[in-house]
């Protein structure tokens, strides 16, 4: 076989299979393991010989037990210890492999782990990362024309390219189409409203502390609030490379054309919903009046008709509230006023409605809250809407006669409320999208039940309480939706720092809960 020599690769090497740097570690490890085992066995043999010479009977049971036990104990121990001691070497070869441009077989080591920070080894890794990063840059500078090409490409592309400093989140480079603005000090800053607000900075923190390389994509990130004529909506792809000259790179793709029609729809629906509110209030009210005044005079089936009217009117109110809340949330106008509440109290505010809904649709609603549940910091109306949405969802995706369980437990400084159904469940690929606006599961698209907005707004409300919402589901077996809200005692100080308690309400304004301040109008 004839191989043409290249300037960097002498002929000699290419005749043998080229040993790649990334393969070194596994070979070396194999050698070490074999060596340790051999050495250990040799030692045991020598010891055994010595024992025999010293008078031990090789045939005795005790002798063999001693030899076997020593072997069993010392070989794994020795191997374990050796492997532990070799970890820095592994990380070092791995890091150098990466620096040399080969793709390492193992995940890259993080110099900021407690172990490496305390024993100083992290500095070695950091040095290699830094070195490889600075080496990259001049190699690209070497030719002028690719550089000019690159500059022109960056200028012409419709995508926004932003390079950020991972330490302080400052923008160090932004191309023409990047969503950046100048702050009061004339410094460029990112003009993107992540939702929730801290999404990007949390991710950066996470990367800085634990990652060497990370990627992330966010969808539907707007630069301005709804109504602003300059509003654009982006998909944002982020890349983090520890020690690189361009440590954090964001690439934004303008997807306004895709998302704007949906937002316009929502605006229109919000307007319509607002208009619907008045008449619905009247319908619900007069149904109530009829229900009160006709009590005892109706035949059972007529009474059931009234019940169905009431249930439907209440559900309609729920949907309208969801839409209005979602539009407020998107405009950063959703107000959450936290005060001391109990889960039972919150549930009581929707209890009649929920029981009516469940019974009129032949579902068994089993609500059990432990008596010793601590009080929570909540906005009763909003949180009631969340529970109602989850129960409504459970009714929608379960079968007639099915049971729905509502429970609560204490989890550290949070209370978790869960709603479990034994309905159709969902495959796992659906679960991740559930909390997106307008998302509806593969099945529900065929029916007209729901706008796909209930879970979206529930998530927003729960997160504005400082909690989180999640779902576990098995296809064919049912789903459990649950959310957490903080125990009142754990946040009381922060709430009372903003004392306006006369009407039993406390407003929290200064973002004491992360991402909370954005809900202030």
């Amino acid at each position: 076989m004839e191989v043409t020599p290249t300037p960097n690769q002498p002929v000699k090497q290419s005749q043998k299979p080229v040993l790649q740097m990334r393969d070194y570690w596994s070979r070396y490890r194999a050698i070490v393991i074999v060596s340790v085992c051999l050495m250990q066995l040799t030692i045991i043999c020598i010891v055994a010989m010595a024992l025999i010479i010293g008078g031990a009977k090789p045939a005795s049971m005790l002798f063999w037990i001693t030899v076997c036990a020593t072997t069993l104990a010392s070989v794994p121990l020795n191997l374990y210890l050796t492997m532990q001691l070799l970890v820095p070497l592994r990380d070092l070869t791995n890091t150098i492999t990466n620096a040399a441009g080969e793709k390492p077989r193992l995940p890259l080591a993080n110099p900021n782990t407690p172990r490496y920070e305390s024993d100083g080894f992290g500095r070695f890794l950091q040095y290699i990362y830094d070195g490889s990063a600075t080496k990259d840059a001049p190699s690209k500078d070497s030719a002028d024309s690719p550089n000019e090409l690159l500059a022109a490409a960056l200028k012409n592309t419709r995508a926004g390219v932003i390079v950020m400093n991972a330490k302080d989140g400052r923008v160090v480079f932004a191309n023409k189409n990047a969503p950046v603005r100048l702050d009061i000090n004339e410094q460029p800053e990112l003009e993107l409203m992540f939702n929730p607000e801290g999404l990007l900075s949390d991710w950066l923190d996470h990367c800085r502390n634990t990652a060497v390389h990370a990627e992330k994509t966010w969808y539907r990130v707007a630069n301005r609030i709804v109504g602003d004529t300059e509003r654009r909506i982006f998909n944002v792809s982020a890349n983090y490379e520890k020690g690189s000259a361009a440590e954090v790179v964001l690439v934004t793709f303008d997807a306004t054309d895709k998302y704007q029609p949906e937002d316009d729809d929502l605006d229109f629906i919000a307007f319509a919903a607002h208009e619907l509110r008045g008449p619905i209030t009247v319908i619900r009210g007069y149904l109530d009046v009829l229900d009160i005044e006709l009590e005892g005079t109706l035949a059972p089936d007529q009474q059931q008709l009234i019940q169905r009217l009431i249930v439907s009117a209440n559900r309609l109110t729920g949907y309208v509230n969801n839409i209005l809340n979602a539009s407020k949330y998107d405009r950063r106008h959703l107000r959450i006023h936290l005060s001391e509440e109990t889960v039972t109290g919150v549930y009581d505010s929707i209890k009649d409605d929920m029981e009516l809904r469940a019974s009129s649709q032949s579902r068994l609603l089993a609500v059990t809250f432990p008596a010793d549940l601590p009080s929570i910091a909540a906005d009763r109306t909003s949180l009631g809407e969340v529970i109602a949405n989850l129960i409504d969802n459970a009714i929608k995706y379960s079968n007639e006669g099915g049971s729905i369980a509502v429970n609560a437990t204490t989890e550290g400084s949070f209370v978790r409320v869960s709603v479990t159904d034994h309905g159709i469940g969902m495959p796992s690929n659906v679960v991740g999208n559930l909390f997106q606006k307008f998302y509806r599961s593969h099945r529900s698209r065929e029916t007209f039940a729901g706008s796909g907005i209930g879970l979206y707004i529930s998530k927003a409300i729960v997160e504005s309480h400082g909690g989180s919402i999640e779902v576990t589901s098995r296809e064919g077996e049912g789903s459990t939706f649950s959310f957490t809200v903080p125990v009142y005692a754990s946040v009381a100080d922060k709430l009372q720092a903003n004392d306006r308690t006369n009407a039993g309400l406390i407003s929290s304004s200064e973002g004491w809960i992360k991402n909370h301040s954005r809900f202030k109008s």
Binding site: V289, V320, S349
Partner: protein, 132 residues
């Protein structure tokens, strides 16, 4: 014990809904549509309870509330006040409402049955402030 109730509400359907419900339960009910009339009525007769809408013609509910309870002297010391609101106001009005009422009800949430329950609770526990 709540016997007499003044309703200040400009929406004919909503007003009539409350009047009918409350009368059906045996309460003595007066209903004013305009803000000015409402304020005069509230001062002239010591109602046990005033149901006050915020968005009113002539005079806003917040102004009525400020006149009745915002000054040095409480002009309606024997009346309880329940405000009906959607909280579309600014933060300042909201605070003012929260400081000066015995309860407030979210207009889109309230139904006659809930209103009766709240009035009932006020009777049962006159000292407790009730929020919806």
């Amino acid at each position: 014990m709540i016997r007499s109730i003044l309703i200040i509400e400009d929406d004919r359907f909503i007003g009539e809904m409350y009047v009918r419900t409350l009368k059906h339960q045996g309460y003595d009910v007066d209903w004013m549509v305009g803000g000015n009339d409402g304020l005069i009525a509230a001062i002239n007769r010591p109602y046990d309870l005033i149901l006050l809408d915020i968005m009113l013609p002539e005079k806003k509910g917040t102004e009525i509330l400020r006149t009745l309870r915002g000054g040095d002297k409480d002009l309606v010391p024997n009346s309880k006040i329940i405000v009906l609101t959607n909280f579309d106001q600014d933060e300042e009005s909201r605070t003012m409402i929260e400081h000066n009422v015995d309860a407030y009800l979210i207009k889109a949430e309230i139904t006659p049955r809930k209103l009766l329950e709240i009035i009932h609770n006020m009777d049962n526990d006159a000292l407790t402030q009730i929020t919806p």
